[in-house]
């Protein structure tokens, strides 16, 4: 439940850098495990952007996790894990069913990256 918008949203895993100078890729892998219980063999930088530069300096770094396996993590309270084929997630973006900026950018950029590496 996202209190700020009073609804449940489909979102990619995300979180905040640890205060001890954690780097982005490590944070991404950690949040993936904490929120979903999945472990990634490879995490690579995908994009970086300001969410709303007119009034906030919040900046999000996005990473693409590859070779993902279900690990030991139990997931987080209040977070339900949904796994779907990538094509289905892209359909949800196109249909307007995913309404979280970082998730839209992440999925669209993952598609761009996948096309580039073909």
């Amino acid at each position: 439940m996202r209190e700020a918008v009073r609804s449940e949203l489909l979102e990619i895993p995300a979180g905040i850098l640890d205060v001890d100078g954690e780097d982005g890729a490590r944070c991404a892998a950690r949040e993936l495990l904490e929120e979903t219980g999945f472990q990634a063999a490879h995490v690579e930088g995908l994009a970086s952007f300001y969410t709303s530069p007119g009034f906030s300096d919040e900046r999000i770094q996005l990473f693409l996790a590859r070779r993902v396996q279900r690990g030991a993590g139990p997931g987080e309270p209040g977070v339900a894990v949904v796994t779907v084929p990538f094509a289905e997630a892209m359909d949800a973006v196109r249909a307007g069913a995913i309404v979280d900026a970082k998730s839209i950018v992440g999925l669209l950029m993952a598609e761009v990256r996948t096309e580039e590496s073909r």
Copy 2:
């Protein structure tokens, strides 16, 4: 200049709905004209998303302007208008040179829409 992030950013035109119940497409056409001096013959809905639902209920509606012509508008103070071919804007997204969430989503979704209508 975006004071919140202390830098100049490349962004698509944007603005806030007039308080008198202005609809999104009308607002988009108005902001396009005010900020860039360009007029659109056709404006269509492209996407809608929350910029940062963890802490804000800010929601952005994106529109695709088609058949755009330079109009009478002078542009806005503090806004420099940059026009580039669409492919060049997409290259800037892929290269990480555009770091504003709405602009990244807008360009990527415009590409999706263009591919769909081929």
